[in-house]
């Protein structure tokens, strides 16, 4: 019996000492693949620091961060003023860029073009057939079938929806008034799919359907993507470069809470958005706070190179530098952590 107890104590002891530092985070599903890669790479470089990230959604991330149950949060949509009032020491650090593309299922039509007004009217339910004259005007010479448009959208709350509805609110006053923007909205028409996978599934299996999905899903699932007209009036094919271009031309505010949909810039893709990590301005826990700061520096430098491998758009240089400056202002128990 005594030997058993001693053995158990020894085991627990070794387990505890081998534990190292565990930092918990939760939030957006969109950047989960790149965060996973970053955390595992960082753990490889620093075996005593482990990050645990739960992709429960942007809203969940904000909530858990505000409640203090996690050390950092992640969200596609920047926190609203109301949310910040409950978590006043939050700092938004942009990490990568994402874009929403219009995926459609029209066999035989390779390059669909949709002007902002048409996109809004399709999602408002005002344009109901593919051979509507408004769509034909965007696509001269294309053979558009006399088929009903089946709209697909997200049934769960998501940052993807936030970026999409933010774009629609900017290009369509009617959308802004009737529906508005948010991670979950009252859709006028359309079928709901759960997650990007759900919408992809609906679009892939329903002929004549149209939906919005994250760029990565469209690339990896080889979905036909529509070209959208950006603010400068150019037709842009969705791509990682066009997404990064959207961020380059934007005037970055100090707190990084900015919407870059419908951005200026001749090559900018109009439905792009940042995804953010939410951290405390002043960390209470010394070890965790220091680890988070050093990780952020790594993610904004070495980590950015891994982004393109996973089909994420890395931050443009000016944004990256500004973000690094912001990280320099983060403190741990009142003191700044200098970059080694």
């Amino acid at each position: 019996m005594k030997k058993l107890l001693m053995g158990a104590a020894l085991l627990l002891g070794t387990a505890a000492s081998a534990q190292g530092l565990l930092i918990n985070g939760a939030g957006a599903t969109f950047p989960f693949p790149i965060y996973s890669k970053w955390f595992s790479e960082y753990n490889r470089l620093h075996p005593d620091i482990k990050f645990n990230y739960q992709s429960i959604g942007s809203g969940g991330g904000i909530k858990q961060f505000t409640d203090g149950t996690v050390d950092f949060g992640a969200s596609d949509a920047p926190m609203t003023d109301e949310q910040i009032s409950k978590a006043s020491d939050v700092v938004h650090i942009p990490t990568v860029l994402g874009a929403d593309v219009v995926a459609y299922n029209l066999p035989g039509l390779a390059d669909l073009r949709l002007s902002p007004a048409n996109v809004a009217n399709i999602f408002l339910g005002k344009i109901t057939k593919w051979n509507d004259p408004a769509i034909a005007a965007d696509n001269p010479g294309a053979k558009l079938p006399d088929q009903a448009i089946a709209v697909a959208h997200r049934s769960d709350g998501s940052g993807t929806t936030y970026i999409w509805t933010d774009y629609l609110s900017k290009v369509s006053p009617e959308w802004k008034e009737k529906v508005g923007k948010g991670t979950s909205v009252n859709w006028p028409v359309g079928l709901g799919g759960k997650g990007n996978e759900g919408v992809t599934g609906i679009v892939k299996s329903t002929p004549g359907s149209i939906g919005y999905v994250e760029l990565i899903y469209a690339i990896q699932q080889k979905l036909p993507m529509a070209q959208l007209k950006n603010k400068d009036g150019n037709w842009i094919k969705p791509s990682l470069e066009a997404t990064s271009a959207a961020a380059a031309g934007v005037q970055m505010p100090d707190d990084f809470r900015v919407s870059i949909t419908n951005a200026d810039g001749k090559d900018a893709y109009p439905v792009s958005g940042f995804t953010y990590l939410l951290v405390h301005k002043d960390a209470k826990d010394k070890a965790k706070g220091t680890a988070i700061i050093t990780f952020l520096r790594w993610a904004l430098t070495a980590g950015q190179a891994m982004a393109t491998q996973l089909d994420y758009a890395p931050l443009a240089k000016p944004v990256r530098e500004k973000a690094l400056q912001k990280v320099d202002t983060l403190t741990v128990q009142g003191t700044k952590i200098s970059a080694k």
Partner: protein, 314 residues
């Protein structure tokens, strides 16, 4: 219970009795706590919504924080109704076949795939529905129904595959094993003498079953159907994958809809405003109440009918 020695036996009996009472009451307490907890979470909803307003309105708007449960209640009831309508005849027929008409060995073999159906996870049913049932409905069944029965409002509208009909069909397959397994057990308990008496009086095999087996197992069958109904009302993953997730009320079975558990599962993780979360908790309460009312109503119906023509149970 009264026979036997007093003293030790009595104490043991009383202790056992007491334990059973506690266990029984615990179930009520847990259910009560669940309801109480949901009600507490749903309190922010009371600011701008009345209870009646919440139940009867259709607008579900997370941006404006204005919510109404009617579309989801409708979807839940419709899909449950379709699943019961499709599953109950098949289930009862299958149970009768297994217990009364099939050779014993075949009966035992048949229960195996039925029990396997019960073991399949909900999300697998959803995938099967999405990839097999929905395209089949969209290409074959719904156009055919629309063509020949399109004059009934139930079968109007564009065939998209996703919708009430798809969810109802998949739910029917999911609740079938529940109803069958309980019905089979109940039918097996019918005293053989009842059946033999009927046969001796000159009844055909079918008449013997109708006279002896069905009335005897009626209450049990209703219980089985209620179990199946309970599962149909609460089923989440399979339904949300094929129902189309559109909060609308439509008379047509081909239309897309939404159900109470589906919307809760979809929106809860990302809901941040307290009113939104409260609304989802409110939906949970409505689901609870619906299940309870349907169960209670069915039991009342059974007792009322039982008091009437069923003279077999005396």
């Amino acid at each position: 219970m009264e026979n036997g020695r007093p003293g030790a036996e009595n104490l043991g009996d009383r202790a056992f009795n007491g334990i059973l009472w506690v266990l029984g009451i615990m179930i009520l307490v847990v259910a009560g706590l669940i309801v109480l907890n949901l009600a507490l979470v749903a309190r922010p909803l009371a600011k701008d919504h009345s209870i009646w307003g919440f139940i009867t309105q259709t607008r579900w708007d997370p941006v404006e924080d204005h919510f109404g449960a009617l579309t989801f209640l409708y979807g839940t009831l419709v899909t449950a109704a379709i699943s019961i309508a499709l599953a109950v005849p098949v289930a009862i027929g299958l149970s009768l076949f297994i217990t009364q008409f099939a050779p014993t060995k075949l009966g035992r073999v048949l229960t195996i795939p039925v029990e396997l159906l019960a073991a399949i996870p909900s999300v697998v049913y959803g995938l099967w529905g999405l990839f097999i049932v929905v395209p089949w409905l969209r290409e074959s069944i719904e156009p055919w129904l629309g063509k020949y029965f399109g004059w009934i409002p139930l079968f109007q509208g564009p065939p998209i595959g996703l919708g009430y009909l798809a969810s109802g069909m998949i739910l029917a397959v999911m609740i079938l094993p529940t109803i069958v397994s309980v019905s089979v057990e109940v039918m097996k308990t019918t005293p053989e003498t009842n059946r033999e008496a009927a046969l001796a009086l000159g009844a055909t095999k079918w008449e013997a079953v109708m006279m002896a087996v069905i009335p005897y197992s009626r209450a049990g069958i209703v219980g089985a159907v209620l179990l199946g109904l309970g599962r149909a009302l609460g089923e989440t993953m399979a339904v949300t994958m094929v129902i189309g997730n559109t909060p609308q009320i439509s008379a047509s079975l081909f239309a897309a809809g939404y159900s109470l558990p589906a919307v809760i599962a979809n929106e809860f993780a990302e809901a941040t405003s307290n009113v939104h979360i409260g609304a989802l908790a409110g939906l949970g309460l409505i689901l609870f109440a619906t299940t309870f009312l349907l169960n209670a109503g069915a039991r009342v119906l059974v007792t009322a009918v039982q008091k009437g023509p069923s003279r077999v149970r005396g």
